[in-house]
């Protein structure tokens, strides 16, 4: 498949010169090549030589992802794979920073104007304490981090995320980077028996990529996006304005928000949980239960737990932990999420994992730039392949329901 996916422009997206655009495209092409051209060789390399070397040295077969890691790390094929993967990640951020630095105050001015067009609230807390799981490392190796240094609210880090994450995802999440939110919305419309939320909270929303589809599909609803990153929230508010949507954004921690009990009837998150911590995750679930009204739903879209995968798949996915500043990625997948939801107060019979089919087909149908029908078909039809961005066909969602008599 030739990946020609193009990001939709908005008034706040950093503008690239031809050269900057070409460098950014190269970073995306390199990631696509790694996924299509290098990743498939890891399995054969492991089976035909790395596993054998491990057996010879350890006197036993590799049994889990940790053993497989020990077997693969010294192998030259794996070294090239991991090195180039990391380099592609560094190049993509650097290529976007070039645009942002060159644009300087122009970008801020456009963002200010766009933000003024969003009638939703914007709450930035100058005294906000960024949790360690976000401030200790720059997640995804994004220089400056999602929350900035020392509480800076420089929204250029949101602009960096907006463009960088599109390249990171190679466009698989659509021209507006919103496939996860859109897929969960579609799932709600198709599968939750006429449930139409009136107040929606998106936790860990960064720049609101996945938040906005909720406003689009439920236009009467009051929609809030929260995140610990001030720059992300400020940019999210501007981006929503640039896209003509009135959505509220606030700098808050999903472990403990400022919202009253039972304020929302839908609480969602998209690839948030694996960016938290062992202590934070149960608190996030408890907070979801607290802010949900009776009859409401909690839906977390993330990647599935390790116990649903074979050890080699686990090993491939765990590379993110070691090489892409994703400290909780591996540990999170070892947690019993269903138990966490139960402990938070959700009845056991309302908790389940399910798959929300990707909305990528719709981007092709809408004739978004670069989203050919062929490419959309091949994304939607493929099987799950560890190490590829976005699992085949759909997103894993954890769903729990707060009964009406709760």
């Amino acid at each position: 498949m030739l990946n020609t996916f193009q990001q939709a422009e908005t008034a706040v997206l950093p503008k690239a010169t031809l050269e900057e655009k070409a460098r950014q495209e190269f970073a995306k092409s390199l990631k696509q090549f790694i996924q299509q051209g290098i990743l498939p060789g890891l399995g054969p390399v492991y089976r035909t030589r790395a596993a054998k070397r491990f057996e010879k040295e350890a006197g036993r077969e590799p049994v889990d992802r940790h053993d497989i890691r020990k077997a693969m790390v010294p192998d030259a094929y794996f070294q090239h794979y991991a090195a180039v993967n990391r380099i592609s990640q560094e190049l993509l951020w650097d290529g976007v920073i070039d645009s942002i630095d060159r644009e300087g105050a122009d970008l801020l001015a456009r963002a200010k104007q766009a933000s003024a067009a969003n009638k939703g609230e914007l709450r930035i807390d100058p005294a906000f304490q960024v949790p360690k799981y976000v401030s200790a490392l720059d997640i995804h190796c994004m220089p400056g981090g999602y929350a900035g240094r020392d509480g800076e609210s420089d929204l250029r880090l949101g602009a960096l995320y907006d463009r960088g994450v599109f390249l990171y995802a190679m466009g698989y999440t659509g021209p507006d980077n919103d496939d996860m939110g859109r897929s969960v919305c579609d799932y709600i419309l198709a599968r939750l028996g006429g449930f139409r939320p009136k107040r929606i909270l998106d936790m860990g929303c960064t720049v609101g990529h996945s938040t906005l589809p909720y406003k689009e599909l439920f236009p009467e609803a009051e929609v809030w996006g929260i995140d610990v990153g001030g720059p992300q929230i400020a940019y999210a508010h501007a981006r929503a304005g640039a896209m003509g949507l009135d959505v509220n954004f606030a700098q808050m921690n999903a472990e403990k928000t400022d919202f009253p009990d039972g304020h929302f009837d839908l609480v969602v998150s998209h690839i948030l949980l694996h960016e938290t911590s062992g202590k934070a995750m149960p608190r996030v679930f408890a907070e979801c239960h607290r802010v949900l009204a009776p009859g409401g739903y909690m839906i977390h879209a993330d990647l599935p737990p390790f116990d649903l995968m074979d050890p080699f798949t686990q090993f491939i996915l765990d590379n993110e932990t070691y090489y892409n500043n994703e400290p909780f990625w591996g540990a999170m997948r070892d947690l019993d999420q269903v138990k966490l939801a139960r402990d938070a107060g959700f009845p056991a019979d309302t908790i389940r994992f399910d798959t929300a089919p990707m909305a990528v087909m719709k981007f092709a149908a809408a004739e978004a730039a670069g989203y050919s029908q062929d490419a959309a078909d091949s994304v939607a039809d493929r099987d799950f392949v560890a190490g590829e961005f976005a699992p085949g066909g759909g997103w894993e969602v954890l769903i729990a329901h707060k009964p009406l008599d709760a």
Partner: protein, 119 residues
């Protein structure tokens, strides 16, 4: 932050960078090779765009390039440029050959240092 005191964006991500190769220098080499590959890709994109943009204004540069016949002077200029490029690429081998020719060794170098130190 006001618009007048904009600092340059941070370029280095927080978090110890893993090494992938047994020799750390190889990690740096690979990153340089990838950056260079990126620049080659940028140039190829630019040439492609030149042709397409010219084509859009009715100037068939791609066709004209395909049909172009190089005269002797052009052939020589192009070949000289290629050879010069390769010469730059292999400058260390050139240096090695020159050292062999002049019998320059580490021992001779150290000997010169000693002699100059003494006066």
């Amino acid at each position: 932050m006001t618009e007048t005191d904009l600092k340059p964006m941070i370029r280095s991500a927080k978090g110890k960078r893993p090494g992938f190769y047994d020799t750390p220098a190889l990690d740096q080499m690979m990153s340089m090779i990838m950056v260079l590959a990126g620049e080659v890709s940028v140039l190829a994109d630019q040439i492609d765009l030149i042709q397409r943009a010219a084509g859009a204004t009715g100037l068939d540069l791609a066709g004209a390039m395909r049909d172009f016949v190089f005269d002797q002077a052009a052939l020589e200029e192009r070949e000289a440029r290629r050879q010069a490029m390769l010469d730059r690429l292999f400058y260390l081998m050139r240096k090695e050959a020159a050292e062999a020719e002049a019998s320059e060794t580490s021992e001779v170098y150290t000997q010169v240092l000693d002699e100059i130190a003494r006066g």
